[in-house]
Amino acid sequence: MIHTIAHYINGHRKELDLPSGAGSDLAFFKVGGNPWGKGRINFLVFDKEQSEPLLFVKSMREKDRDESLRHEYIMINNLASYRELVPYLPLPVHLGSLAGHDIMIQKACHGERILASLSRSPILHFQKQTMANNFSRSLEFITKLHTSVRNEPSSAEFRRGIIDPFLSFYDGFGSDQNRTALARLLEEISTIMGGSPITTPMHGDYSATNIFIDLDNQIKIIDWETAAEKGLPFLDLFYFMSKYIHNLKIPPRDRWQRVIRPYFGNTWLSGLIGETVREYCQKTGFSIELGRALFPLHFLNKARIKYSMRGKEPAQLWMNLFEYSINNLDKLCF
């Protein structure tokens, strides 16, 4: 497979914006990918002897036209039409097909993922500054995205495209304990948004793993495959914070408890979360009341994505967080 990809890259040097002389002798590093189903395989592509990768390649393992690669390509290109978002995107991005395999090639990000700055210390005190910085960096892009790109669907479209899928997923998941509470919450969201609901693009996996801090301190957002053009505001920000806290090594040992506690407690982390949410509201104009109502949905949304990719068991953990949060909204820290 890599030989075919190398040949393809050499035939598309101009579109891929490869520096002159680069790309004639390529080396491949298989990184991550999705192991399930038809699955994707990802490569970082290096020029021989170079210490930083040139390109990032996503391809299908099986000969297939993959809608998720196509979707990601379209999503990145659509966002790239907003000039203020361009610095945050891994451009140029190229979609092709070789020997029946869909392939997406984009410029490799240099620098480090935000995840790399996460401390392995169990003591929170020594990582407060880094955390505050990282929350602020994540906020930088998400506020820019949510102020630059907005849609104003009709109430009926909003209900059909945004609200109803949450309900039908919840019903299909086989848990009905909080069906009424969810329906009530969704009603409340519609009410808060009034007659003119707003949707924003949603990354869907906006986590410290998918945010690079480039060598010139510019952040780049990668992995747009679960992105939606029309999503709800706040959810990416909440997910970033939840996943970040989930990845910390601080007590308690139970990662899920670790996520719940700061949101529904009164700790330093609760303060940082509150501050970040208020700053988001201030910059985007969305109300904190809307944020509170949307909060449980970021867990439900993640459960929905996990369910579609990996089935019920991995989704259940996120569903548990959703169920807890919808029943404890009055204790939320912001």
Binding site: F28, P35, G37, F46, K48, S51, E52, K63
Partner: protein
């Protein structure tokens, strides 16, 4: 389908709907559950006992792959995760560094539940999937039917007595199998058995064909203190064989026969068996879950991996150890898992 040959006398076999017969030495083997089988059912690799297999097959027969995964994720049977995880398609990602085409014929020795067999069958002409544990082949056969793959031939046989004679294969693979060869016959030195198998494989490959071995490095960093050796004890792999044997006899009441080797030893063994152009690939975290793969010769990628992955995911000690090893060009001796490819 390739001609099968008698594992004993190497004459051509007659394969019928319900049995396999050798005209020459009059040996005959009945098919088991429709599968070609040359050995009895005593050998069983893995943790799942026979009675549990009955329960599993009664629950998965006639089910879709998704339903089987759902069942395996919920049922409380020790050893089930290996079968659940066999549905992950990334286990064959090492093959993306090779040019497998739809004309290739592959022999998967120790195929297990089909972790590599299934993805490879989607890319090549035919896969002969061989395993000595019958339930694993039955499991693979269910998956095969569910996927509609009619280019897989499961064969219940010992890798020491392969039912093939001619150079017929473009690729022969052993994914986590080579180290177990010594356990299949107690009265021969494990290394002799392993070398004999390499020579047999060399003979069965077409000219230009490739052997593909995924295996641990005897002196891999993980085996210093983090991971157990195949003996299920720590550090036995690092010890002289006689000492490891003494320890396993005392603590595990069995001989030490699961030999792994160093980078140089693997290279030498393959060369001595007639292979050339031997390439090593590093695979992390291990070949059972190959998230990261790159060629040993691409040292620039090792440096990148060191600074962007090991540094942030492994212990400081491991990072500094590999940084030191890289500085002196020694990393290949301590990387814990290899994919090794040799050409005939």
């Amino acid at each position: 389908m390739l001609d099968l040959h008698c594992p004993t006398c190497k004459s051509q076999l007659t394969v019928t709907q319900d049995r396999v017969h050798c005209e020459s030495c009059s040996s005959s083997w009945e098919r088991k559950y429709g599968l070609i089988s040359f050995i009895d059912d005593r050998y069983s690799y893995g943790n799942i006992p026979q009675d549990k297999w009955k329960e599993i097959f009664s629950n998965i027969s006639g089910k879709t792959n998704e339903e089987i995964q759902e069942y395996l994720s919920s049922v409380k049977i020790k050893g089930r995760w290996a079968y659940f995880n066999s549905f992950k398609n990334h286990k064959a990602d090492g093959f993306s560094f090779l040019d497998v085409t739809d004309k290739d014929v592959i022999l998967d020795i120790g195929c297990g539940p089909g972790s590599l067999t299934i993805p490879l069958a989607k890319r090549c002409k035919e896969v002969y999937a061989l395993d000595a544990t019958l339930p694993r082949l039955r499991f693979l056969d269910i998956r095969r039917k569910n996927e509609g793959l009619d280019n897989i031939t499961p064969i219940h046989a010992s890798a020491l007595y392969l039912p093939f004679r001619e150079p017929s294969f473009d690729y022969i693979l052993m994914n986590g199998v080579f180290e177990y060869i010594g356990e299949w016959e107690d009265d021969t030195d494990p290394r002799d058995l392993q070398e004999m198998t390499l020579r047999t494989i060399h003979g069965l490959l077409k000219p230009g064909g490739h052997i593909f071995i995924a295996i641990e490095n005897r002196y891999g960093f993980d085996f210093f203190y983090k991971e157990r050796d195949h003996s299920k004890l720590y550090v036995t792999g690092l010890l002289p064989r006689y000492m490891a044997n003494l320890i396993t006899r005392i603590l595990r009441r069995k001989q030490y026969r699961t030999y792994t080797y160093s980078f140089n030893d693997y290279k030498k063994m393959l060369e001595e068996s007639g292979f050339r152009n031997i390439q090593f690939y590093y695979v992390w975290p291990d070949y059972r879950d190959p998230k990261y793969i790159f060629a040993e010769k691409d040292r620039n990628i090792f440096e990148y991996y060191l600074e962007h992955f090991i540094k942030h995911t492994a212990s400081t000690f491991e990072y500094l150890f590999f940084k030191w090893a890289y500085k002196f060009g020694l990393e290949r001796h301590f990387v814990s898992n290899f994919i090794i490819v040799g050409e005939k």
